[in-house]
Symmetry: C2
Subunit: 419 residues, 2 copies
């Protein structure tokens, strides 16, 4: 012990100290998508507070945040109206022997907001909602096969987790794959499922980690709907990541395609833990026949927060507002990239953007960009789609672009050094 060169404790960051403590009592120090191990050097693991579009880490560094807690924060942290609705409900009750009036109101809100929806049910995780959709589709059709797009994320349960550690072959026995936006591969998978096709499960857009995002092509969306109609199967849209942020009616409504079942979570309650399934009348009876439940699924505070969040999203056209700020960010980044003579690709909807560098298969430029931008106060992600909120103002985008210019400089220098 006495021979160790100890780092003087006054120079240790709070984050580093917490990581050490976590290493002892949490496997690997952290798990899942919030594990900072895959983020560039300098990214914090632990956070202290947040307000609007600013987050603060445990060392007091503040960032303009472009992850929005990986999606849930739609209106900005501590939105006063959402907070007031949640607090008012909390003063009455949260987790009771049954739901409150607010559950009925929220279900009515969703049925009014989402054109395909005749009914709604509530859960806690996005994966609860996608799993319930699959179960309802199987109960309603009496069939087993579920078609999913290769690489799409639908949650971290054994049937859909991106990792197969601890997962058995049987957990995925009835999944068949197709390529997102590829109607031909869809047809092949439908043919393979044959008379056993229960559902096609598809994300609102293609947002796989580390590759350019893809909006759904209208012809593909229509092919999905047609395939379900022809086979009498369910079209399930997984809106967990995109829902409300792109279109309060559902992302595919603009394409003229409506699902039978839809899974929602993340942004619907502005950070409060909630998920929802919406469905049409065809799947109402199957939804009564399955058994799904959870200890906290009817907790009233998150539902009150959701009602306020969805009302504000509709009344102030949040998707369009975030789209405008997202376009400002996108145009600013494009302009900066040109100035720094570095080629990038920007993809996805402006509300959930991704910027990848050309000739950057290992994300080295992207990581250098992010690390430098972080030091200058902007929290970007090098490989996962980002999220903007209604709290981002033009001035925030300008400050973030200033941070991004340092990012481009760092990425550019990395490129030069590599030659």
């Amino acid at each position: 012990m006495s021979n160790q060169t100890a780092v003087p404790s006054e120079t240790r960051s709070v984050d580093a100290t917490l990581r050490e403590r976590a290493q002892r009592v949490v496997p690997g120090g952290m798990w899942g998508h919030l594990n900072a191990a895959r983020l560039p050097e300098g990214y914090p693991q632990f956070f202290a507070s947040a307000e609007g579009c600013r987050i603060r880490d445990v060392d007091g560094r503040e960032y303009i945040d472009f992850m929005c807690s990986w999606g849930p924060i739609l209106l900005g942290h501590k939105h006063p109206e959402v907070q007031a609705a949640a607090d008012a409900q909390a003063a009455r009750g949260d987790c009771l022997n049954g739901p409150g009036e607010v559950m009925v109101e929220l279900a009515e809100d969703l049925v009014g907001m989402v054109p395909h929806a005749d009914w709604a049910m509530f859960q806690k995780n996005g994966g609860d909602a996608t799993t319930a959709c699959v179960t309802i589709a199987r109960a309603g059709t009496g069939r087993r096969k579920i078609l999913v797009a290769k690489g799409s994320y639908h949650g971290a349960l054994p049937w859909c987790s991106p990792s197969v550690a601890g997962v058995t072959t049987e957990d995925r026995a009835h999944l068949l794959q197709f390529e997102y936006n590829d109607a031909e591969s869809l047809r092949a998978a439908v043919a393979e499922a044959g008379k056993d096709l229960a559902a096609i499960l598809v994300t609102a857009f293609r947002h796989d980690l580390g590759r350019d995002l893809e909006l759904p092509i209208a012809e593909f969306a229509q092919a999905v709907r047609l395939a379900c109609d022809n086979a009498d199967a369910a079209l399930i849209i997984d809106e967990v990541r995109a829902g409300v942020r792109l279109d309060t009616r559902g992302t595919w409504e603009a394409l003229g395609v409506r699902p039978d079942l839809c899974a929602w979570s993340k942004a619907i309650a502005n950070g409060y833990a909630l998920a929802a399934v919406t469905g049409n009348d065809r799947f109402r009876d199957p939804a009564t026949r399955i058994f799904v439940t959870g200890s906290f699924w009817c907790s009233a505070v998150a539902m009150a927060a959701a009602r306020a969040t969805l009302r504000i999203a509709r009344e102030t056209n949040v998707p369009a507002r975030i789209q405008a700020t997202g376009m400002m960010l996108r145009n600013g980044l494009a302009s900066l990239a040109r100035q720094h003579d570095i080629s990038v690709r920007q993809s996805g909807p402006p509300q959930m953007p991704l910027m990848l560098f050309d000739d950057d298969p290992e994300f080295r430029k992207g990581r250098a960009f992010c690390a430098a931008a972080l030091r200058h106060g902007a929290f970007f992600h090098p490989a996962h789609n980002m999220f903007l909120s209604a709290a981002h103002q033009s001035s925030d985008i300008e400050r973030a672009l200033d941070a991004a210019s340092h990012g481009f400089k760092a990425a550019r220098e990395l490129g030069v050094n590599n030659r």
Copy 2:
């Protein structure tokens, strides 16, 4: 329309009106364990508020509550210290880009509190925790078979839901069953699993719906541990329903048996949505290799509530306090049953009691008892284990026993009428 005999709206209860509205926008009007359809006549579906051990329905009727929101409420609703801890955290931040310091502190608390635990991870649902335990056990052993007791409830995911609607055979391909508290049937199941035994998953005590509760027999618990040791498999205890309420160290600690993995939820945060897995060092590495995650799993407010809840549970010996009130209820019920000359069986730990009537296979006496007691202000359950909280005082038990005497009268009259 005009020929219908409409019930005048002033006589309609708020609950009935809400049920009608819910019927339109929620499949079956309600789903899962909170569905009041299976409860006796007169039970409300919707609740307005709660305080301590009192709950109030949407029609303003107040009850001394013996369900505690089906488990989560350990210290009573709106416990001031839990509330203060949660509110203080909420003022800083809840759902952020990563966990807060409170996650590390809570993991440290659990490791300090639960003797088997070297580490902890957090989730939202009890089913998240049991599923993670199973996945970790499979990842750690490289095997597939999970032994579960016939009839035990481990959540409502396809692999464990009590209903098979929408579930495929493959979802349960690697489950083998034994009888709770029956070492012989356990041995047979272990033999059947052979070299493929990943884990034995067992509830803290036997709390199956509608039958007498059974505490684990020490010899059985030891046989479970021995079978896991001999096969190099994981012993997983599902403490979701019983955890903390019976023993803050874990229910089997008093039997001298420690699990490898343990699933917690319900009571750990006094009603805030949280679940946890604790594990020993043997399963630390497998826990790092699986991928499980959720959008709200690291939300800080529920963790702050959990820290306060667990501290109070330890420092004020909540299990013993609730046990004493539970014994008072049990003795009072036994005495009233004798007075009314009616035979009942009381089972389970006093903190989570069940009273079943003799010669009552369809729970008609039990339902009559509950319906009458409800009218007199006590919220009991005829078939599911009940829950007491630290907020129940002697005076509450006395009032509830007064309500129960009306219940016994009703049950007795039913018996007489049936002769």
